[in-house]
Structure formats: structure tokens, C-alpha cells
């Protein structure tokens, strides 16, 4: 318990620090080389950024004011970061809402579905569950794009990878912006491929 509470205290401290830094610098993305951003922070920012460069059909929303829902299946890697962004920002003039589903659960009603590492064995099942729906599927698992996922990204301290499957996005009735396509690596759906 003592260890746990200590851990939690550390988490809170980090969160506080990050929040302070964000308040001070007011940035979406942590700045390279100046404030060392946490992986969770970067990943959360990526999820938010994807919403900026993706076009959903209006039928995907019940009303012009209805929120853009970010669904997470499995173990959440973002910590408080995604909630912080969702609370502070809007995307496409819509409020953001984060919905979490425990590992093994069905994908929720959402516009972005993040498939966590814990769902490695269920990727195809989850993708099939949202197939044809206006849901942007995002994951940091590999293979993902070749399985029919829309965006796979990896981000460590040193590397940054962004793999995009515009064909898959089209099947989800979505359109990835050319700006986004310009900075990522384009992949196609290929059921036989072992890697993206």
C-alpha cells in the first residue's frame, strides 16, 4: 500500500508538473529538446491531432454540437493527458469526450477508437466490430494498417513513426487530410503481411 501510494503521489507530481508546463507554454505538442515530454503526453497529443486532420461525415454526429468521442479499448496508455486535453480543447468545433472500455470489452460508440497493446490478440475482432462505421481506428500495435486499421503510430524519445491506410479510412467513410498523408507513410490492407 505504501509503495502504491508513493507511486500515486509520483504520478500526481508528474501530472502537476506537466499541467504547469502546459499552462505556462500553452502548447499542444511538447517542444522538442526543451521540455522533455512524457510518452503519454505525446501520445495523447497525437490522438487529439488525428481528430484535426480527419474528416467525418456529418451523419457520424447526432447534432452539430454533439461531442467527438474518443474511445479506448484496453489498458489506457495516456494517463490523465487525454482527459486533460479533452477538457481543455475542442476539435472541429466540437467538445471532446473520452470513453474507456476495459480489456476484452466491446468497442464503445465513438469516432476514434484506440486499440491498446493489451488487445493484441483481438485487433481483427475489434476492427471487424467497427467495420463500415465512421470510426477512425488508431493503434500502436503492429501489424495494424495491413489488418485494415486506419492509423498506426509509434513514438519514442528518438523515433517517430506514422503509418496511414487511407483505403481503410475510406471504408470507414472517413477522409484523411492530405496534410496528414504528406507526413506519414502510406500502407494498404494486406491480410497476409506480418508487419505493416
Amino acid at each position: 500500500m505504501a509503495v502504491l501510494s508513493l507511486l500515486r503521489a509520483r504520478c500526481v507530481l508528474v501530472a502537476w508538473l506537466v499541467a504547469t508546463a502546459t499552462l505556462v507554454f500553452g502548447q499542444t505538442l511538447p517542444e522538442t529538446g526543451r521540455v522533455r515530454a512524457t510518452e503519454a503526453e505525446v501520445k495523447a497529443a497525437y490522438i487529439f491531432n488525428f481528430t484535426l486532420f480527419t474528416h467525418w461525415p456529418s451523419s457520424a454526429f447526432t447534432s452539430p454540437q454533439s461531442p467527438l468521442i474518443i474511445g479506448i479499448v484496453g489498458e489506457d496508455p495516456f494517463g490523465v493527458e487525454l482527459d486533460r486535453i479533452a477538457a481543455a480543447k475542442k476539435s472541429q468545433k466540437r467538445p471532446l469526450k473520452v470513453v474507456r472500455v476495459e480489456s476484452g470489452g466491446d468497442p464503445p460508440e465513438c469516432h476514434i477508437l484506440f486499440i491498446a497493446k493489451s488487445e493484441k490478440e483481438r485487433v481483427e475482432q475489434l476492427l471487424a466490430a467497427v467495420k463500415g462505421k465512421p470510426v477512425l481506428t488508431v493503434s500502436d500495435l503492429e501489424p495494424f494498417c495491413s489488418r485494415g486499421g486506419c492509423i498506426r503510430f509509434l513514438r519514442t524519445d528518438r523515433t517517430m513513426g506514422l503509418f496511414l491506410n487511407p483505403g481503410a479510412a475510406k471504408e470507414q467513410k472517413l477522409r484523411l487530410s492530405p496534410e496528414l498523408l504528406a507526413i506519414g507513410t502510406i500502407r494498404r490492407t494486406d491480410p497476409h503481411a506480418v508487419v505493416d
Partner: protein, 473 residues
């Protein structure tokens, strides 16, 4: 301006024509070219600026995702594209905090890029153009594109244009000058030829010269009129010459005739006078008193006629003798002349007063004759006066000496003054005052030959004054 116009007036016709045709074109070309260059430099600057703006806008659009996802290598590729634009010297993408995270050229230090805070952008230094384009994502600024261009190119373009314009202007002027001088020759050459002919005519007095006929209606009229004038002058000149010759010949004939007549008349007169004298001397006792009286009358008439003929001869001689002009002392001449006429005044009281007279340029013999005639008249016409007063002197009029001989004689009516100087014209009868009527005519002729004038001033019963000048012309 007035100075320029004065200068222009002094130019030759050829230069004037050249200036008149070239100057307006030069002014028009200069103003036009200057206007064109000005317009071009303004529009070119605007075009370059729009081009840069389009560039910046494009970079802003294509770098949004890169900036958002922090994939700066992509943004670097975008901004490296600026290298293809030779005007651009630098470029950068600033993040939302105003840090130039992507730079072109890459090795340029971030601190060498302008500092921006929010949406306030600094002014470009001279010689450079700075363009800032905010990068917006969902209406939120996420960064700024910066492009720096050198305005050297404007100056270079201006220089090239100005140089080209000046060069072509000069070339055009040379061509225009060649063409206009070629054409002007057709205007100036006929006029110059006419001017040369006119000068030749006036210098050599050769009226047989003719101007060459010229093409072109105005020049044809001008040369034809000029030639016609020359023809008329030539004809009139020839006529004048022949008339002068005729006149001279007639004059000479008249002179020799007068001389011959006078000479031939003298010998019978001498016989008449001589024999009538002999007759009265030898046979005065045999003849009745009345016949003697008649003889005396015959003799006196003959003597008077001889005197008349002598005067006439002297008068006609005046024109044939050349004028011997030299410096003379009029005072001496007056005294000598008076000595000659003094016999006329014998037995009378005549007061002659001679003022001091300045030296004069005259023929001494003829001037002597002038004073002899004027003084003898003065002595003669003062005869009724108990005391005759004769004054000889000089006074100045308009800077020239005017000589005069004044008397207190009988004078005359000024109405008859114009007849005084004609030959044989007399105002008094022979019975009152003897004379031939030639004296004043001789005086007038001598004065005229000296280039002077003579005029009287008189009143009946109050005397007369004769004024004359010498060398007036």
C-alpha cells in the same frame, strides 16, 4: 528659359531645325520611358510580393500537420523548396511560441531570425522584404511562416531597365538625328545657297549673278522672286549708268559750248569797245556832244558785257577745276579779299570788323573768291549808308562752325531769297547797284563743292547776313 530661347535664336537654321525636330521627341521619349520604368518597378515589386505571399501561404498550409505532429523533417523539406526562388534569402517556420523550429538556410542560427511575439511582426530592414504568414489550424494560430527576400533584384531590374532604356534612347536619337539631318538638308541647302548668292551680289555688286533654281514650291517662289529682283536691279543699274554717261557727255558738251561762245563773243566786244574808245578820243571835237555821249554809252555797254562774259566763264570753270583742299586761315583770306574790294569803297566810311576765325579745310583760291564776292556785295549794298558796318565772323551750331558776313546795307525781302543764288537773277536794278548776277551763284557753287550750305538772313532796309558752312557732308 529666356536665356535658352535667346541662345536658340542665335543658332543657325540647320541647328534650329535639328533641335526643333529632336528636342520634343527626346522629351516625350524621356518622360515616357521614365513613366514606364516607374510603373514597371511598382508593378514588379507587387508581383514579387504576391508571389512570396503565395509561397508563404502554401508553406503555411502544407506545414500544419508537420508542425502539429512535430515531424519537422517534413517541414524542412517544404521550406527547403524556397531555395528554388532566387529572391528568397531566408525562410523559417516558427512554432506557436515564436521559436524558428524549421529554418532555411539550415545552418543559420535561430537568433539571426527576427523575433516575433504573438501576431506582432517586426519591420524589415532596408534592402530586404520580410513576409509573415500565420499558420492557422481550426482558426487557432499554431505557428508562423517567415520568408525573407532581398530587394536587390528590384534595384538590379531597375538598373537593367534604365540602362536598356538609355541605350535604346541614344540609339533612337542617333537614328532620328541621321534621318532628320538627311531631310533638313533639303530645307537648309537651298536657303544656304540663296544666302550665298545674296552675299555674293551685295559684296561684288554683280547683279548678273542668279540663284540656282530649287525644288519645292516655297523655294521655287523664293528663288524666282529673288532672281526677278536681281533682273530688275540689273536693268535699272544699267539704265542708271547709261543715263549718267549721257549726262556727263551733255555736261561736257555744254561746258565746251559755253567756253567757246564766251571766248568767241569776247573778240567782237573788244573791237566794239576799242573802236568806240578810239572814235571818242580822236574825233571828239568833230562830233556833236550827243554823238559823244552815245559813244560813251556803247563803250560802257561793251565793257559791262565783257565783265558778264568773264563772270560766266569763271562760273563754268568752277566745275572743271579740281578742288585743292588744305588747311587755311580764313582770317588771312578775309583780309586779302577785302584788300581786293577796297577800291569799291573809296571815298566812303566802311568799318570792317573781322573776328578771329579758326583754321578750316578748304581750297584757298575758291574760299578767297567766296569772301571777295560776299564782301563786294556788302560794300556795294551799304552804299546808301553814311557809315557802312561790315562784320565777318564765325559761330557754332551743332558743333560745326557757321561762317557769316553781315552788313547794314539795304537788305532784301526774304520772299525772294530762293532766287538769290540763280545765275543772272538780281533783286536790284542795274541803275541802283551795278552787277552781273553771277557772284552769289558762284559762291553757292563753291560752297556746294566744299560740301557745305549757304543761306541768307535779311530784311529790307536793315541789312543782310550770309551764313555758310564747309565740309558738312
Amino acid at each position: 528659359m529666356r536665356w535658352l530661347i535667346k541662345k536658340f535664336d542665335q543658332m543657325s537654321l540647320r541647328t534650329k531645325l535639328g533641335a526643333a525636330s529632336l528636342l520634343p521627341s527626346l522629351v516625350v521619349l524621356l518622360v515616357g520611358t521614365a513613366g514606364f520604368i516607374l510603373y514597371d518597378s511598382i508593378s514588379f515589386r507587387a508581383v514579387v510580393r504576391r508571389n512570396l505571399e503565395a509561397n508563404a501561404h502554401f508553406i503555411a498550409l502544407t506545414s500544419r500537420a508537420a508542425l502539429q505532429f512535430d515531424t519537422l523533417d517534413h517541414a524542412e523539406r517544404v521550406i527547403a523548396g524556397l531555395a528554388s526562388n532566387s529572391d528568397v534569402t531566408a525562410g523559417a517556420i516558427y512554432n506557436a511560441k515564436g521559436v524558428p523550429v524549421v529554418r532555411f538556410p539550415q545552418n543559420r542560427a535561430p537568433r539571426k531570425f527576427p523575433t516575433i511575439t504573438g501576431s506582432e511582426y517586426p519591420e524589415a530592414p532596408s534592402g530586404k522584404i520580410w513576409l509573415f504568414q500565420p499558420i492557422l489550424l481550426e482558426d487557432q494560430p499554431i505557428g508562423t511562416v517567415f520568408i525573407e527576400a532581398s530587394s536587390d533584384r528590384f534595384w538590379r531590374r531597375f538598373q537593367i531597365l534604365a540602362l536598356g532604356a538609355t541605350g535604346s534612347l541614344l540609339l533612337l536619337l542617333v537614328v532620328a538625328h541621321l534621318i532628320s539631318s538627311r531631310l533638313q538638308r533639303h530645307v537648309t541647302n537651298p536657303l544656304s545657297a540663296l544666302a550665298r548668292t545674296a552675299r555674293a551680289v551685295s559684296e561684288r555688286k554683280d547683279y548678273s549673278t542668279r540663284a540656282e533654281s530649287q525644288s519645292g514650291p516655297e523655294f521655287k517662289v523664293l528663288t524666282d522672286a529673288f532672281n526677278q529682283m536681281l533682273e530688275q536691279i540689273e536693268a535699272q543699274d544699267a539704265e542708271l549708268r547709261s543715263r549718267a554717261d549721257q549726262l556727263q557727255q551733255a555736261n561736257a558738251e555744254l561746258e565746251s559750248f559755253t567756253y567757246t561762245v564766251a571766248h568767241d563773243l569776247r573778240s567782237p566786244l573788244r573791237s566794239l569797245s576799242g573802236f568806240s574808245h578810239l572814235l571818242s578820243a580822236k574825233y571828239s571835237e568833230a562830233l556833236p556832244e550827243e554823238a559823244c555821249d552815245y559813244l560813251t554809252r556803247i563803250r560802257m555797254s561793251a565793257e559791262r558785257m565783257a565783265a558778264l562774259i568773264d563772270d560766266l566763264l569763271a562760273f563754268s570753270h568752277l566745275d572743271t577745276q579740281p578742288l585743292q583742299r588744305k588747311e587755311v586761315d580764313p582770317g588771312t583770306i578775309v583780309r586779302e579779299a577785302y584788300a581786293e574790294v577796297q577800291t569799291l569803297a573809296s571815298g566812303r566810311q566802311v568799318n570792317l570788323r573781322v573776328q578771329s576765325l579758326p583754321p578750316a579745310q578748304a581750297d584757298p583760291v575758291l574760299l578767297h573768291q567766296v569772301y571777295v564776292n560776299l564782301l563786294s556785295n556788302a560794300v556795294k549794298y551799304t552804299r546808301p549808308r553814311e557809315v557802312a558796318e561790315i562784320r565777318v565772323g564765325v559761330r557754332e551750331e551743332n558743333g560745326k562752325p557757321v561762317y557769316f558776313v553781315e552788313d547794314n546795307g539795304v537788305g532784301f525781302d526774304m520772299r525772294h531769297a530762293q532766287n538769290l543764288f540763280r545765275v543772272f537773277q538780281r533783286l536790284h536794278s542795274e541803275e541802283d547797284f551795278e552787277g552781273t548776277g553771277v557772284g552769289l551763284a558762284i559762291v553757292q557753287r563753291i560752297i556746294a563743292r566744299h560740301g557745305g550750305r549757304i543761306w541768307p538772313q535779311a530784311e529790307p532796309g536793315k541789312g543782310a547776313t550770309f551764313y555758310f558752312t564747309l565740309n558738312e557732308k
